[in-house]
């Protein structure tokens, strides 16, 4: 019996492999398991290759998993296109379509001998039982239920619900296809038992959603009343959620004519006194950078969600990467600090987006939330979130006394000035992208510019002491360390557990606040560190470079960085830690040798 199983399935666009993954995840969730599902596609809208990964566990799940336990290939050509996204190893059971004509001992996976390889006439079973090959995905679900004990009744219950409107015959046909899959599995038992332990948690209340919907829901919870945006993969679902729901809360959403107008409208809404948001991905972030500068100098609260994908330019629009950190932290011209936050999972996307609004409103600044394709489009089961524990901040409004001789940009001790908005009597002022005096009057004065730059940067000082925006786990005095953020953080959390189980003395830092760099917090963390890795999906190692720019990093801290769409596996990180430990031991031995 297993606690945890990772499925990876691939086929061509019409095979319904992602919809099978969805059904599996929902069924597992209904049976009380934890589940995570990620999807990966080619860029084609119809046809082309599509895949999903579903990880199911009796324990909370830190990431979508490393090597597959179960690989399902409806055809090999499409499966192989996903390369490192669907890694097969010696512990993988490979199930594939017999109609591909490939012999079980000749599957096209070079240098790997899977645990077991089984050719199944999936299309044949579908045709025979349901009368159409379109039921292939239902056959796959039957095979999974039969071999791994996941799904079962809950899968068919879900399918029945989904197909109810399409008539009884279709439901019955799918039931036959499903049963035939189960029967095939029973007739061909696996060499090794791979059934999952029953969850014992059946019927527990769970949330199930993806990072984009969670970001939008969190924004509405935080009081966001305006969203301006433009469709761009993989962030569009955020706007879609708003178009469905924001009206109910007195808000509005605008699908603007372009990325610039989308953020522009959000800047306008914020000027008008409403909490506002936009969302985009790489190329859109580039287009929005001038408006981000405007929001910074006009000191207007604004949340920008950037769902990272492979770049530059169109890059890999459907794949995950962490290469927008430079752009998020530094893209608008001028001397400006713009806070950057990053979630690590669907569940903590809620907290991070609420925090982004709080920081935006408190400091009167644009804040970027760096999500990534994996988090944004992965579906995750999670325990219900107690929203009453979240404090919601509102921007500092002028008091009657402030309005006596109102100065919108009054230089205060903490750099935060009360902000009025149109409609507020006595608060009229000129907001501007041009440098301005305390009243808002345009100026070219170097001394005013100096004072205002001071105000606009020093106001962020308290943010640097927010230790709650960093997660530190493992032994605080460990000589070995990992640093990771975003979707890679979940891989490192699992690597940490594995490494500790193997006796390594290691710790992990996961920053939710990426910029400004909280130098003191990092310095405390690095104090004990002799060797370590900054793990990231960025070819240029942007995180490592931003840290190096601000900190004197321990000499033994190295970068483990690679391009997007090449996921890290927890096992390889543990292996890298073993190497670092060996290096450390060698250098200690060297020191112990008598000096000549």
């Amino acid at each position: 019996m297993r606690k945890d199983l990772v499925f990876g399935m691939a086929g061509s666009g019409g095979d319904g492999i992602v919809s099978a993954g969805d059904s599996l995840l929902q069924a597992a969730s209904a049976e009380g398991y934890h589940g995570v599902m990620t999807k990966s596609f080619g860029s084609q809208i119809r046809g082309g290759e599509s895949s999903c990964r579903v990880r199911i566990s009796t324990e909370p799940i830190p990431n979508p998993g490393g090597n597959l336990d179960v690989a399902v290939a409806l055809n090999w050509e499409d499966f192989l296109k996903f390369g490192a996204e669907l890694p097969v190893s010696g512990t993988t059971v490979v199930i594939y379509e017999a109609a591909t004509g490939v012999a079980e001992n000749q599957i096209p996976l070079v240098g790997v001998t899977p645990l077991q390889v089984i050719a199944v006439p999936i299309a044949g079973i579908a045709k025979e039982t349901a009368g159409t090959e379109r039921a292939k995905n239902t056959v796959v679900l039957g095979l999974i239920a039969g071999w791994f004990g996941i799904g079962g009744q809950a899968v068919m219950a879900g399918i029945k619900k989904k197909l109810a409107k399409k008539g009884e015959e279709l439901v019955a046909a799918n039931q036959r296809a499903f049963d035939a899959g189960v029967a095939f599995a029973k007739e061909h038992p696996l060499k090794t038992d791979m059934t999952v332990i029953p969850s014992g948690n059946k019927g527990a209340l769970k949330l199930l959603t993806d990072g984009n919907d969670m970001a939008a829901a969190a924004a509405i919870f935080a009081g966001c009343q305006f969203f301006g945006g433009y469709p761009i993969t993989p962030s569009t679902e955020i706007m879609q959620f708003f178009t469905n729901h924001v009206w109910k809360y007195g808000g509005a959403v605008l699908q603007a004519e372009d990325e610039i107008a989308g953020i522009g409208a959000a800047v306008g809404a914020s000027f008008a006194g409403k909490k506002a948001m936009t969302a985009t991905s790489g190329p859109g972030l580039s287009l929005k950078s001038e408006m981000m500068g405007l929001a910074s100098i006009a000191e207007l609260p604004l949340v920008i969600v950037d769902v990272q994908r492979g770049g530059p330019s169109t890059g890999l629009p459907t794949k995950t990467e962490q290469s927008d950190l430079f752009a998020a932290a530094f893209s608008a011209h001028g001397d400006v600090i713009r806070p950057v936050l990053a979630p690590t999972s669907v569940a903590d996307t809620f907290r991070v987006v609420v925090e982004a609004f709080n920081i935006a409103e408190h400091y009167q600044t644009p804040v970027i939330v760096l999500s990534d394709q994996e988090i944004s489009q992965r579906k995750e089961t999670m325990d219900p979130i107690d929203t009453t524990q979240f404090k919601i901040e509102e921007r500092l409004r002028p008091t009657a006394a402030d309005l006596q001789e109102y100065k919108r940009f009054r230089i205060t001790e903490n750099g935060i000035s009360p902000i009025s908005h149109p409609g507020m009597p006595g608060g009229a002022y000129l907001a501007a992208g041009i440098e301005h005096s305390e009243t808002g009057a345009p100026t070219n004065s170097g001394s005013v510019h100096q004072r205002m730059n001071d105000k606009r940067t020093k106001k962020f000082d308290p943010l640097l002491n927010r230790e709650d925006l960093f997660e530190i786990t493992g032994n605080p005095d460990a000589p070995l360390a990992l640093v990771a953020w975003g979707s890679v953080a979940g891989v490192c959390r699992e690597a940490l557990q594995m490494a500790q189980a193997e006796g390594l003395n290691v710790k992990l830092m996961v920053p939710y606040l990426l910029y400004p760099v909280a130098e003191a917090t990092y310095n405390r963390f690095f104090a004990s560190v002799q060797k370590g890795l900054v793990v990231e999906q960025s070819h240029l190692a942007q995180t490592f470079k931003v840290l190096r720019m601000h900190l004197d990093l321990p000499k033994g801290l190295k970068s483990l960085a690679r391009s997007g769409a090449n996921p890290f596996l927890p096992g390889e990180i543990v292996e890298a830690l073993h190497h670092l430990l060996a290096e450390l031991q060698r250098s200690h031995e060297g020191k112990l040798q008598p000096q000549e």
């Binding site: 949330l207 007195g250 603007a256 372009d258 409208a265 000027f271 409403k274 907001a431 501007a432």
Partner: protein, 291 residues
């Protein structure tokens, strides 16, 4: 909405001293705006006045209201966000011909088709003044400027025909040659329930050509009302608009006699309809419960 109270033009004049060149047409435009606002009588704090970048985009600073001098070409995107966030506000947008029809030229069509209740005033001087005399999108073909030293090879944009063609419900033209009528045209534009466009021929005294100064404008100006133009006749308006650049027609080219619903009005209706029985926002995550 405010209680009606008496306002005078001077109540909308701010403490900032304009930095426009002496004789700039924009001095008249801002006077026209003060007068129009006084006639309408909304208190300054209920007005949001948004501009882009350019000489004329300084104008919100010279007006007592909530002003926002934004970035080049983006007055309209920002103004629409303001109006949608708070439809009660009187929202004005203004800027130059380069701001509105070149760098920001992609926005106007969309504000028109959405019919957001904003009044957009373009101070059209056929030149880039703030950057010292380059070719603008409304410069005449053949015009010699510092960036067209052998003469422009481009046809100008026709702001009137452009906005009419996109279906704007209110299109008018004014000029400092007749301040009283400019003020009343701006007032009428603001009162129009929907997107309203006013093109104002506002001479650049420093880089403008002789023919575009007040005297030259007067020579080619004609009042649409004296021509007997019916502002309900969109095709006649488009016909007259074709003479842009040769004739200066002053007055209302087109006013939709049956104004279409505004986007800002429609979103209010939608908010009212959908807010009934909605989950409280504290429980929005209930949407994700899977049983």
């Amino acid at each position: 909405m405010s209680a009606t109270c008496e306002f005078q033009a001077k109540d909308y004049k701010s403490d900032l001293k304009p930095i426009w060149c002496p004789g700039c047409g924009d001095y008249s435009v801002v006077q026209g705006i003060y007068r129009a606002l006084a006639a309408i009588g909304r208190p300054p704090h209920e007005i949001a006045f948004i501009s882009g970048i350019g000489c004329s985009s300084r104008i919100p600073g010279y007006t007592t209201a909530y002003g926002f001098n934004t970035v080049h070409g983006r007055a309209l995107p920002i103004a629409q966000g303001i109006k949608l966030a708070n439809p009660d506000l009187l929202v004005l947008a203004a800027g130059g011909d380069g701001d509105g029809f070149s760098i920001g030229g992609g926005h106007i069509a969309h504000l028109i088709r959405r019919n957001i209740d904003i009044t957009y005033i373009v101070m059209d001087n056929q030149i880039y003044g703030l950057t010292k005399g380059q070719l603008s999108p409304t410069s005449q073909k053949g015009r010699i400027t510092v960036t067209s030293q052998h003469g422009s090879l481009e046809e100008p944009v026709n702001p009137l025909l452009y906005t009419l063609a996109y279906g704007a419900g209110f299109v008018a033209q004014a000029s400092p040659t007749d301040l009283a009528s400019m003020a009343s045209i701006i007032e009428e534009a603001i009162r129009y329930p929907g997107f309203a466009f006013v093109n104002i021929q506002s001479p650049c005294v420093t880089y403008g050509e002789e023919a575009q100064q007040i005297k030259g404008l007067k020579a080619i100006s004609e009042n649409l009302s004296t021509l007997g133009h019916n502002p309900a006749d969109r095709l006649a308006a488009m016909d007259l608009a074709q003479q842009y650049g040769r004739k200066l027609h002053l007055g209302v080219f087109y006013r939709n006699p049956e104004p279409a619903p505004t986007y800002d009005g429609l979103i209010r209706e939608r908010q009212a309809a959908l807010s009934k029985g909605a989950l409280p926002k504290e429980r929005i995550l209930d949407l994700f419960i899977k049983k």
